[in-house]
Symmetry: C2
Subunit: 134 residues, 2 copies
DNA sequence: ATTATTCATAGTAAATTAGTGGGAATTGAC
DNA sequence: GTCAATTCCCACTAATTTACTATGAATAAT
């Protein structure tokens, strides 16, 4: 049960954007790539997921780039991770294989564990993460 | 961040053994395979991990098999999952790549999340799991 | 027009997971 | 003491997922 690199890189990006939130300008992927050490092309894909989840917005063209859609105090680590980590689902027990064969003894467990993890992650804002104030 | 099949199957086995705990006899892998729908060979490997973690004990030979080393009230879901799921580590941030390149902004986060998950999983006993009493 | 950027999508290589297979070691039963 | 049933050990393979690369179109500022 590992966090993917997308999860880690997604947080790097989020923190980087959080630092620049007050300036209110767009940061391009090249800058983010340098700040995080992740290739531009890969970051593009990760940021696309964050955009889809309405955590960041973008403009194209020269002087284009990305910024957060909300104050980093109001964005949680949970939101970011759910966006990039394929909804953070811990198990896919809703699928045929498992559902048909047996009454899965652990299904409720996964649900509760999932809730537990998410409610923890939603107590931490990007600001807190950036300041390492956990 | 998905639970592996080993995690699921490990719990199946644990529950199956929990049901038979009072009989105090050994259950062989063929029986467990039928009960869980997992191949014998794969179960062997999974059970080996549980044995290594002292959750189950075994005897060989005819009438051999496996049983729990303790009362299912005293074994937690966390113990089982840590045994089969490569210690449940959520991230391997202690490795060179990550440690050298940047002060990882999320390192504390992973640690706390890990603690959070485990302390939840350790509140649930095999008995509770078997009775779906979460 | 030109240049710098995001956006969309397809492809590939590496790593991990999931599962198979063969056979040695051990134990109980007869 | 032999036989059959079982765990145990280790190597291998197939399938899936992850991580990343590549190409080029769409868009916006100058």
């Amino acid at each position: 049960m590992k966090m993917s690199s997308k999860a880690r890189y997604g947080l790097y990006v989020a923190v980087e954007l959080a630092k620049n939130y007050k300036n209110n300008d767009y940061i391009n992927v090249s800058t983010l790539s340098q700040a995080t050490g992740v290739t531009e092309k890969y970051l593009e894909q990760i940021i696309a997921l964050m955009k889809k989840a309405d955590i960041v917005s973008a403009t194209r063209g020269a002087t284009g780039g990305y910024k957060l859609t909300a104050d980093p105090n109001d964005i949680t680590v949970g939101q970011v991770l759910r966006a990039v980590e394929d909804n953070l689902e811990i198990v896919d027990c809703l699928h045929a294989e498992c559902a048909q064969r047996r009454k899965c003894v652990a299904r409720n467990l996964w649900g509760k564990l999932y809730d537990n993890i998410n409610s923890y992650l939603d107590t931490i804002s990007l600001t807190q993460l950036a300041e390492d104030d956990l």
